[in-house]
């Protein structure tokens, strides 16, 4: 991994920006590399003051596994939610859940909240200002504890391992 420098505060983000730029213009000409490269250096320089210190990825492979797990969960989530909505005899049990957070950094909390919003029947609704817990609205829940444990084991623990150890 490239070490951050003063003119390149977020190397990974810069590479990502360059790749996205090249994909957007659908051209791999030299000029596009120069343009995309300068954008990839300029944008983080102009914006990185707005962010908290970014976390380094401790385990890239764990991150990859996490991404695939979330993608799989998104697909099952869609089937579940589609069934819940389309079934006319449904008996939904909506539930507001206060989820106690184990993560501490804002970036990882954002990732967790996004993951929660994308996966089975849950939408993250509010993060408490003290960053200690997350309010979740769930579409259909029988047992609060089961859902909290599921989120903790499936998403939060891997995220913590990937970024915060």
């Amino acid at each position: 991994m490239i070490a951050p420098r003063s003119w390149l505060p977020t190397p990974v983000l810069s590479i990502l920006l360059l790749v996205v730029w090249l994909l957007l213009v659908r051209s791999y000409a030299f000029g596009q590399f120069v343009l995309g490269g300068s954008l990839a250096i300029l944008i983080p320089l102009l914006t990185h003051r707005f962010w908290d210190a970014r976390s380094l990825i401790a385990k890239p492979f764990a991150l990859l596994r996490f991404i695939f797990r979330v993608l799989g969960d998104i697909i099952t989530a869609n089937f579940e939610v589609a069934y819940l909505i389309a079934n006319p005899w449904r008996k939904l049990k909506p539930h507001f859940i206060e989820y106690p957070l184990m993560l501490e950094e804002r970036f990882t909390i954002t990732l967790l909240a996004s993951t929660i919003s994308l996966t089975p029947g849950t939408v993250s609704a509010n993060l408490r200002m003290d960053g200690k817990s997350l309010l979740i609205h769930a579409l259909n829940v029988d047992d609060e504890e089961v859902l909290i444990n599921q989120i903790r084991e499936r998403y939060e623990r891997p995220l913590k391992e990937i970024y915060e150890c």
Binding site: V81, I85, A86, F96, S117, L135
Partner: protein
């Protein structure tokens, strides 16, 4: 274009259409605001994902070269959908929108304020 590719593309398009339709249906007729949020955030991501994969396959088989530009749309969708859902839910809580009576769990934002008694601190202020 071979029949198999064509069948796969049609299947993906139909599946995508069904998912997006169910998502919109959920938005139209679920009971309260917070439940209606679930449809567009989830059912549509897979629906649009299916359509984009179909489009990717179609242009791959027509032009003869793979093109992953559509994946970028999916990426942006995955980044933006949860954020907008979160903001909508948050503003819903802030405006104290009604929720279905059977909803369990009472978030601090939606509890009735105790008038006359000591003021209830707003959950986002006061501590932290």
């Amino acid at each position: 274009m071979s029949v198999i590719v064509e069948a796969l593309i049609s299947l993906l398009l139909i599946a995508g259409g069904i998912f997006v339709f169910i998502g919109s249906l959920g938005m139209a007729h679920l009971r309260d605001f917070y439940m209606r949020l679930h449809g567009p955030t989830k059912a549509t991501t897979l629906g649009i994902g299916c359509m984009l994969i179909a489009s990717m396959l179609y242009f791959w088989s027509v032009d003869g070269k793979p093109d992953i530009q559509e994946l970028l749309i999916t990426l942006f969708l995955f980044i933006t959908a949860p954020v907008s859902a979160h903001l909508l839910a948050k503003s819903g809580l802030h405006l104290r929108l009604k929720h279905a009576d059977k909803t369990q769990g009472k978030p601090v934002e939606l509890r009735p304020e105790e008038v006359g008694d000591k003021p209830v601190p707003h959950p986002d202020k006061g501590h932290g």
